[in-house]
């Protein structure tokens, strides 16, 4: 069971975030690449393509989390500590992803020369912009989506990738890492809900940022097939 959210605004926000998440999952289900993965029509080339595009967002991920931390003033010192430790934990994750790409038969230099697709550009620009505002409480919504992906989808997707590519864990260490660790990260987000939801405006901002993050994340995955 998750850390308990007790305040009325925290609960309201949690319900909203749950709905945003459920809607996000349905958006993912409509992405052609994910639909192929879920119906077993997925191969190694699809997987390499996914990692190629994902790498850009993973690299940028640590940047917007760090920026978020630096934008909280002393009134939010505890939140800042939490976010800094999170950024520290994840800022070199992309190296694991690179190893998976090579293990899946990809060429490292191709991966390293990869560029952000239209969805990643939009997602990154939005997150850096929001993270740069003073006390960006709404970034909790962005973290809800990104960490939720790790906690709720990574293991399932890793299993499906392994089935579809006839492999074991050697191609999916990045996904498996997030599947194993993001539970703890989500616990911390639950704990932040009561702290950060101080007004209806905070709740609205968190939900809006979660919604936009989810939409742009799905767009990023849609763009994988447009290359």
């Amino acid at each position: 069971m998750k850390a308990e959210v007790t305040s009325e605004l925290g609960q309201l926000c949690l319900r909203g975030l749950m709905r945003v998440w459920f809607d996000f999952e349905r958006q993912l289900g409509r992405v052609p690449l994910i639909a192929r993965l879920e119906s077993g029509r997925f191969d190694r080339a699809d997987y390499r393509q996914l990692l190629l595009h994902w790498r850009q967002q993973v690299i940028e991920g640590a940047r917007w989390i760090s920026r978020t931390a630096s934008s909280f003033d002393r009134d939010f010192a505890a939140v800042r500590s939490e976010v800094i430790s999170h950024a520290q934990e994840e800022h070199r994750d992309y190296e694991v992803l690179e190893q998976d790409y090579v293990a899946a038969g990809g060429d490292l230099s191709t991966l390293q020369q990869g560029r952000r697709n239209a969805g990643t550009e939009a997602l990154h620009a939005f997150l850096m912009y929001r993270a740069s505002q003073t006390n960006p409480v709404d970034m909790l919504g962005a973290m809800w989506i990104i960490e939720g992906l790790g906690q709720k989808m990574a293991n399932d997707w890793a299993g499906r990738v392994e089935d579809a590519t006839d492999s074991n864990g050697e191609l999916t260490r990045f996904m498996r890492y997030h599947g194993a660790n993001d539970d703890g990260h989500m616990e911390k987000l639950y704990a932040l809900l009561d702290t950060l939801c101080r007004s209806q405006a905070d709740v609205d901002a968190i939900l809006r940022t979660a919604r936009v993050t989810g939409r742009l994340y799905a767009l990023q995955l849609e763009e994988v097939d447009h290359e």
């Binding site: 609960q11 319900r15 809607d23 349905r26 289900g29």
Partner: protein, 371 residues
């Protein structure tokens, strides 16, 4: 225009079969005991159920006969003679015939004359879709009286001979539901007037998500997931059967979605003001397994909109999971055995895993003389 459920009924075939009695009845596949049976039964929490099959695998009641018996049982609870029924709305996942619609056979079995007919086809939520069709027909003042019947005869799919014809070894996806589903039928009479202690239908609302998720529970796909033919695409039915395309399958990896989507619909109905959690007196949820009950309960608690366990009612453990008939059989037994009074609010939830359709209904208990 207000619509009421003024009578309910059910039919469960034969004697109840306990957990030890299932395999002797359905048969051991290639003579071997199932290795999954105990684990699945422990998690679903069903202790007994009914089958319209005898020990020789003869069908004791057709699906339409069961439906008719439930319909008759419902009308027997009412003052309304069968001749007054104007609309029959019937639901099942599998009629006795592939064609025509199930409702035709039920009408013939009940001997109802000059009625309008509706057949709803699907899995667990098809009964709620049939109910909604009748509810809206009465609301539109097209009719005054409607009989809604949901019936399932799943056990015919679970005979050992079916698995043997499909190559013997049952894969997990094909065997899972063998220990979950059983047979039965339930019925409601709908009227535009209240009668005795009855239920006013406040609203029925469904959310379907087939555009966002793959098929989760189905008959018609072969065992090989890379083979995208359906049962009718094979040269002969014998080849489709050998490929396992006529077995009932559940993709258990997708099952978690049912919990989330069940909660999602509930939160949507709260946001739109249709549900007020603290005003719900009884919750009847058609979950297929006790495992899901705790998942749904915990998620609602976490969201701060939980319904206390004392308000949950289910007869899954003693009547089994009868697919679309479950929620009707549940409300019928609730009506006969659970204390409730005028003014109480009942929420019914049917999250279906087929391709993810969740349907909700709110009822208010009414008493005729207090109108």
């Amino acid at each position: 225009m207000t619509v009421y459920i003024t009578a309910t009924g059910h039919f469960l075939p034969g004697e109840p079969i306990d957990n030890e009695g299932i395999e002797p009845l359905l048969g051991r596949i290639n003579g071997k005991p199932s290795r999954l049976r105990r684990r699945i039964l422990e998690s679903n929490g069903i202790r007994q159920r009914h089958y319209a099959l005898d020990a020789e695998h003869n069908t004791t009641h057709s699906n339409a006969e069961m439906a008719a018996l439930a319909g008759r049982n419902c009308l027997d609870q009412s003052a309304l003679p069968a001749s007054r029924v104007q609309l029959l709305s019937a639901a099942t996942s599998q009629g006795d015939l592939v064609l025509p619609g199930f409702g035709s056979a039920v009408q013939a079995n009940l001997g109802l004359s000059d009625i309008e007919l509706h057949t709803s086809h699907g899995i667990c939520s098809s009964s709620m879709m049939a109910l909604k069709a009748a509810f809206t027909a009465l609301k539109a003042e097209e009719h005054d009286y409607a009989l809604v019947i949901a019936s399932e005869l799943a056990s015919r799919l679970f005979k050992a001979s079916r698995y043997e014809a499909a190559g013997g070894q049952a894969d997990f996806k094909a065997e899972f539901l063998r220990w979950m589903l059983s047979d039965g039928a339930g019925a409601f009479l709908l009227e535009r007037r209240s009668r005795g202690l009855c239920y006013r239908i406040d609203w029925i609302r469904g959310f379907s998500h087939a555009d966002a998720f793959p098929v989760c529970m189905s008959v018609g796909h072969p065992r090989d997931t890379h083979d995208h033919r359906t049962w009718q695409d094979f040269p002969t039915y014998a080849e489709a059967e050998a490929a396992g395309a006529l077995l009932l399958r559940q993709d258990v990896r997708l099952l978690d979605q049912i919990v989330k989507l069940g909660v999602d619909g509930y939160l949507r109905l709260i946001d739109s003001g249709w549900i007020q959690p603290d005003r719900i007196d009884h919750l009847l949820c058609h979950y297929s397994s006790h495992y899901f009950k705790s998942r749904i309960h915990d998620m609602l608690q976490q969201a701060g909109v939980g319904i206390p366990e004392s308000k949950w009612y289910s007869n899954l453990s003693t009547r089994g999971n009868t697919g679309c008939a479950s929620i009707f059989i549940m409300l019928d037994e609730f009506r006969r055995s659970r204390e409730h009074q005028s003014g109480d609010t009942i929420l019914c939830m049917v999250p279906e895993s087929g391709r993810f359709n969740t349907v909700y209904m709110q009822l208010t208990v009414m008493e005729e003389n207090r109108q």
